[in-house]
Subunit: 431 residues, 2 copies
């Protein structure tokens, strides 16, 4: 194994990029001792050279054109932190792999969309492609799935994969404030972006789940077959009612294999409050894995932020320096399955539903009739307070029902005149 | 990298050994696909050839003398599952490493006692020595510390490292039954050994902590400088009082670095009930790591049992098959420090203490005087019920106090005539 320094080029100098610089500056000696080689910054590159970044970059060679690093003989590996599913990030990663140059990236969007093509390229060119930072930075979950649990058939994964959503849902529960208010506060605190839609609409979590599902089950990442629902429609009332019923609401990414077919989805659901994953609050992420020999494992840590994401990038660099090169999604690309997907409509779950109805005689009869017509059986129902002629909340939980039936019922309920808004219907996940 | 099969010899065919056979038989194809090589059982060996093990071993070559595997050209690596800090296990591991043959082991006792010597030997002979199964089988924690968190300075580790103790403490809390009763039930269920002292006296947890501390802080494993207290003296009353005060009692292994010096210890302590680690119940294990860049990470999973331990052994075999070879304790042996240890007497903590006293005037004055004389300041004190002339429990928590002072006070309290038994003094760990 080589003991020469591993010389890297960092492309993208936002939070994560500057974090990587800080770690290598702070722990250069420690990492060299652990790895047997120094990891040296050979060049840095970003769109704006003049921006203040809180770290002195003048000691590093600046590359105006990130693509120049591809053929640069003094750069052994490229760290891609520019981001985005296409554009310069995709161009750079493809060019590096084609040239046989190893790539470390945090780019979940790129891998979720083009992961299979990139895995093939990496394999043909024998160029490692590492992405620990793409999912839950503070948790070495890619490594856990691809190496630590490699002896197992993985059956299911449940993850809290987006810190922004988890922070918002936690704040809503603790303060009773509604979504919009808490989102605004989160933006002020830097826990949510100015344009928060990638996070709160579940896209970011879905990108991550895509990678975890591919790794766990050995299939091509497939963002197209991943139904996504965000958290905009979850109200503080839902969170409070869920609490009364013994649940917390979490945005979960779920991937599961049943009889050889695979299901993956991202949506807010009710989780029993006494489950450990329900206790994962604030900006923390968690991944729960159900395997045949190791049984249940749960990993909790920070998902994003400078330190955790940079720690994950550097752990990949350490693996690279140690000469490790594993199949991108845990299996040779040719063996990655094109999965048969489970029809979500046929999946049977319990549900929570909240309706805001006018408090007048006959409303419950209308609701009950619709439920009956869609084969939905009510497990519990509660109406809080009485206020004749005014809107009140009716909350119910159902016995196990087919998703298609429940969605049909929800649609029919929404068309009832006595409902003043669309019902909020959420799955109950009992693991 | 080689694509020839990795041929292993398994020595020791108890629960873990037969588990390894089952995994390789069940998932041989899957593991070969993930690894790029088959892992084949070249020979098996145990003390008793005739014992029924629930798995058909007739298809494998039986080695009467495990040491014959050392020079066996048809065996590429030896899996040592015989156990014990000395005896055949030590002999076999040393002989293999001397011969340059890789070893995978679950033997925490051996590594805790002789880890430094074995690490030197492994390094000189370039023979990998892997031991994921030695600590918390269902959690890839060795990998997480040595690889996943390799970019970080690790500051502290807290672990629930013994499933038997955690099961007993959980049962005591849930049923209110006392230690002896619950231990007996655990033995019947197979959760505790016929001779349970290794587990309940904390030795097993201490062996594991030894390895985690060495890995986390880069020092030689040192079982001699690891104070150990088991759980025999914890009563159901203590668990109930702790609950009233907002805590759970857990047997924790703690390793911490402060100003370059290291502290490691195993003892039952009070943990705030709302901390995630407090919610880790039954036979589950957990390791909490505090690092500078990745921040807080928590790993939860099954500690022992056939499946989880065997899963860990096979994950090591997968690493071996992939050609990985890392320094045994994360750093080259020559760089492993001989730590300067923190004097436990000087460590400042809050304490819980329960005394059984005769309910008569003046007792509290005696207790208070002793506490004053040892500079212990009481934070809260409660006496449950009144029963003049009869024994009643007094429970108190203290403000931060030096350990030496608290131990001095405990000793003085124990000599009071009005105390009918030794006080139970436990540290409160708030992380």
């Amino acid at each position: 194994m080589s003991t020469a320094p591993l010389r890297i080029g960092i492309v993208g100098l936002g939070t994560v990029g500057t974090g990587v610089v800080k770690i290598l500056e702070n722990h250069g000696g420690l990492i060299a001792a652990r790895t047997g080689r120094r990891i040296e910054i050979g060049a840095v590159s970003a769109r704006d050279k003049t921006k203040a970044r809180g770290v002195d970059l003048t000691r590093y060679r600046w590359a105006d054109d990130p693509l120049s690093l591809v053929q640069d003989q003094k750069i052994d590996a490229v760290v891609e932190l520019a981001g985005g599913a296409d554009g310069i990030a995709g161009q750079l990663v493809r060019a590096c792999l084609k040239a046989g140059k190893p790539v470390v990236t945090a780019n979940k969007a790129l891998l979720a969309r083009h992961g299979f093509e990139l895995a093939q390229l990496a394999e043909t060119q024998k160029a490692p492609l590492l992405y620990e930072a793409a999912v839950a930075g503070g948790i070495p979950i890619i490594k856990a799935l691809r190496e630590g649990l490699a002896a197992n058939d993985i059956r299911a994964l449940y993850g809290i994969l987006n810190g922004t959503c988890n922070y918002i849902l936690t704040e809503m529960r603790e303060t009773g404030k509604d979504f919009g208010v808490v989102l605004k506060a989160a933006q002020t605190l830097g826990y949510a972006e100015a344009d928060p839609s990638f996070d709160i609409d579940g896209i970011d979590a879905a990108h991550k789940l895509c990678l975890l599902s591919a790794l766990a089950f050995g299939h091509r990442p497939d963002f197209e077959h991943l139904p996504v629902t965000g958290i905009r429609h979850v109200s503080a009332k839902d969170i409070a009612f869920a609490g009364e019923l013994g649940y917390r609401i979490k945005l979960l990414g779920i991937a599961r294999r049943v009889d050889g077919r695979i299901m993956q989805r991202v949506e807010p659901c009710l989780v029993p409050a006494d489950k450990e994953i329900a206790g994962v609050e604030g900006v923390f992420n968690a991944v729960f894995a159900e395997t045949d020999f190791a049984d249940d494992s749960l990993f909790i840590g920070r998902g994003a932020g400078e330190g955790p994401a940079a720690s994950a990038v550097v752990s990949d660099l350490v693996d690279l320096a140690r000469g490790h090169n594993l199949p991108v999604f845990g299996l040779p690309a040719a063996q990655l399955a094109v999965p048969e997907w489970i029809d979500d409509g046929a999946v049977v779950s319990e549900y929570y539903a909240r309706m805001v109805v006018l408090d007048k005689p006959g409303v419950l009869a209308d609701i009950s009739a619709i439920l009956r017509d869609h084969s939905i059986s009510v497990e519990s129902l509660l109406q809080r307070g009485r206020d004749p002629g005014k809107p009140v909340s009716i909350v119910m939980t159902t016995h196990p029902a087919r998703h298609a039936d429940m969605m049909g019922a929800a649609q029919a309920l929404a068309s009832l005149k006595s409902l003043s808004q669309k019902p909020c219907v959420l799955r109950i996940e009992t693991f």
